[in-house]
């Protein structure tokens, strides 16, 4: 099963490698991992997308909690939550493809944020499925490069991760 784990961690050098080292040492999957400081600069928030059986997910959260610098861990996918990912796609945009690409961007409510004679950079946010859908909707031959941020997530309503 796919899980989205959010955690708060002290913003110390090496904290990221403690988390990634834990995953590789114990053979857990990481589908994506994002990290950045929070409104409190002494703390970072990390979102990890992983897969595993219930037993493995239980061990993952316990092992994460055990890391001395980890302040709090929640599996936000246990209940209603929102996931978003940002994707920047550079595509070839010449001739009739130019119009078609613009149309696709509009359909997906993406924005074109860089324009040259031959290319666009398209910015798209959404959940993973939406990003995947966009990529499969456009002609792969036109894709010059894509970069995805990995998932960040937050619980709905009263579910708040804060110290």
């Amino acid at each position: 099963m796919r899980h989205v784990i959010s955690l708060l961690i002290e913003n110390e050098s090496g904290a990221l490698s403690r988390v990634s080292g834990l995953f590789s040492a114990r053979g857990y999957n990481i589908e994506s991992l994002t990290v950045a400081p929070t409104e409190d600069a002494s703390m970072s928030r990390m979102t990890i997308v992983t897969t595993g059986s219930d037993d493995i997910i239980e061990q993952i959260t316990k092992q994460l909690n055990k890391l001395v610098e980890v302040v709090k861990v929640v599996d936000i996918s246990e209940a209603a939550h929102i996931e978003r990912e940002l994707m920047l796609t550079k595509v070839r945009a010449t001739g009739k493809d130019r119009e078609e690409m613009k149309r696709m961007a509009d359909i997906f409510r993406a924005r074109i944020i860089d324009v040259t004679d031959t290319s666009y950079v398209i910015e798209l946010t959404g959940n993973q499925a939406k990003l995947d859908a966009f990529i499969s909707a456009i002609d792969p031959a036109l894709v010059l490069e894509t970069v995805r941020s990995g998932v960040c997530g937050v619980g709905r309503g009263d579910r708040i991760l804060k110290v």
Binding site: G14, A25, Q63, K66, V68, V71
Partner: protein
């Protein structure tokens, strides 16, 4: 008061009441050694290899309730320390390791004797720190000791660049630490404990299974009291030996791969299993699927939530310090008139005693050739069962654990989790320094002892009257045993050729050496050795080369599928 970083390090150790530091100097720690030189509260033990420094500090910690401290230089000093750190980590031993690092400006420049010590040790420490500012030394060391000994204990490393140890600042030792990210649970959940007590009272085939956690929590007294109140059978893992007196009737011996028949059968067929500070290791429960076949309710008390429901499903998890939890269980039992039904318990004991009557620890003694089991039995007799016994890793380790009956905690020091050959002598050094009057025996093999034999020199310098019992079978015995049983008797590289004359070697280091070849000389030699109160004596017992450790649960097999003796093969 304004002090240099190095002086602050030493002052912190004084504040933590550290009496011994085990270490080895080098460029990056020269300022720290200088600060050591100028005081006499913290004594330094100069080992002959950094691995032994960490093991000795580890042995010191295992034999006391204190944190062990080691000090090493950057680069090779730190890498030599890694085996010692990992060994302590695997058995949850509280330690602080201070390592020197190249100056901050040189970090990342591939400087002389630079390694990423924090990176290398990250997977085998509870936590580690790189101190980049002299003003952080005191709080960091305070945190290191706090982390090492609270919660699930473990080694903590503090890496200090040379310039940081040279810089100066105002020194004040923090009175306390608080870390928002680290708050181990101490008190167990009342409701869970009540549930557990209820289950125990209703059990038909109860069993208590305890481990290293009891030793680490200093809770042998509470465990003994609770076990006697309940009247249940009990087993202690290799790490938990001495947690409950081995000479007591309720004690069934060790469980697991080389545990007793009765302990394994009772573990397997119990209907309520109380697990206390033990982590269902693969060497203990054998094949987890086989173990799960028999339905039973499991109560698991551990301070580390990640130990619970890791390898087996648990019905009543209790997270907390087990001393507190055991005390609460005792309180609840005292407040409750109910007791386990004596008839039900009686018939369970009848079954257990039937298993016990198989006498699985019996072995064939000999008049001609020294049997290792016999040496350990004699060692137990000669020391009145009251020695601190350290061991290395191999067959001798198992024989020591099986035939020396430990009645008290912190008397049995060995590497269970990592299984590190070479720990025996340094453990004995740490234990002897921590317990100056105690009888300290190091049970070892001719292969293991050679992994840190250079420490005979340290023993001479610090006058440590350790008694080394070398069960010399001229084989990597444990390897040979597996090759005999599981690899078609192809003894690939398990024979030790060109062994030194250990008695002479000991003499060359300035100690007493004895070579013992006949069973009739075993007891006399041991008595002579322990009578020499001020000498290290190296007893080189020439034992039966082909003796195997039994009983045995083969890897992958279930607990009830034991090989009891060579006849079972």
């Amino acid at each position: 008061m304004v002090l240099s970083g190095a002086e602050i390090v030493i002052r912190c150790l004084q504040e933590e009441k550290v009496d011994y530091v085990f270490g080895y100097p080098g460029g990056a720690v020269l300022y720290i050694y200088d600060a050591l030189f100028n005081q006499d509260k913290v004594r330094h033990v100069l080992v002959r290899h950094e691995q032994a420094a960490v093991h000795a500090a580890d042995g010191y910690a295992r034999s006391t309730e204190n944190v062990g401290v080691a000090l090493v230089t950057s680069g090779p000093g730190a890498t030599n320390a890694v085996t010692g750190i990992a060994t302590a980590y695997c058995d949850s031993i509280p330690m602080v390791i201070i390592s020197g690092q190249v100056p901050t400006a040189a970090i990342g420049q591939d400087a002389f004797q630079e390694v990423d010590t924090v990176g290398i040790t990250r997977p085998c420490v509870k936590h580690n720190f790189l101190v980049k500012d002299v003003r952080d030394i005191a709080t960091t060391i305070k945190k290191a000791f706090y982390l090492a000994k609270t919660g699930r204990p473990g080694p903590v490393l503090v890496d200090i660049p040379k310039d940081v140890s040279m810089h100066k600042c105002e020194f004040e030792y923090p009175k306390e630490v608080s870390m928002r990210s680290y708050n181990p649970v101490v008190k167990g959940h009342q409701g869970q404990i009540r549930k557990a007590v209820q289950l125990l009272l209703e059990a038909k085939r109860p069993m208590i299974y305890t481990g290293g956690g009891v030793i680490l929590a200093n809770a042998a007294e509470q465990l003994t009291k609770l076990t006697r109140m309940l009247g249940f059978p009990i087993t202690n893992t290799l790490m938990g030996l001495g947690g409950y007196p081995a000479s007591d009737r309720q004690y069934l011996g060790m469980p697991g791969m080389h545990g007793t028949y009765e302990a394994n059968m009772a573990m397997h067929y119990s209907d309520v299993l109380l697990a206390v500070g033990a982590r269902f290791d693969d060497r203990v429960i054998g094949n987890p699927d086989h173990f799960a076949e028999e339905p039973r309710k499991i109560i698991h008390v551990d301070i580390d939530p990640s130990s619970i429901s890791k390898r087996v499903r648990v019905d009543v998890p209790i997270v907390g310090d087990l001393k507190e939890v055991l005390e609460e269980m005792i309180r609840q039992l005292e407040a409750n008139a109910a007791r386990p039904n004596p008839d039900t318990l009686g018939s369970w004991w009848k079954q257990v005693d039937e298993w016990r009557s198989r006498e699985c620890m019996k072995y064939k003694n000999s008049d001609e050739i020294i049997k290792p089991q016999f040496v350990i039995q004699k060692l137990w007799e000669v020391t009145g069962g009251d020695a601190i016994v350290t061991s290395d890793v191999g067959q001798h380790q198992m024989w020591a654990s099986q035939y020396y009956r430990f009645d008290k905690p912190r008397r049995w020091l060995n590497s269970g989790g990592l299984g590190t050959m070479g720990v025996g002598l340094p453990y004995a050094m740490g234990a002897q320094l921590a317990n100056p009057g105690a009888q300290v025996a190091c049970v070892t093999g001719e292969a293991s002892i050679q992994m840190n034999i250079q420490e005979l020199s340290t023993c001479k310098q610090f006058r440590l009257p350790i008694k080394i019992c070398n069960l010399n079978n001229r084989y990597l015995g444990m390897v040979r045993q597996w090759q005999q049983l599981f690899h078609g008797e192809r003894y690939s590289e398990s024979y030790m050729d060109s062994l030194p004359d250990f008695a002479k070697l000991a003499e060359a280091y300035g100690h007493v050496g004895l070579k013992i070849e006949r069973p009739s000389d075993v007891e006399g030699a041991l008595r002579e050795a322990f009578a020499r109160k001020n000498d290290l004596v190296f007893l080189d017992f020439q034992i039966d080369q082909t003796e195997n450790v039994y009983p045995m649960v083969q890897g992958g097999k279930g607990l009830t599928e034991m090989i009891l003796s060579a006849e079972d093969l």
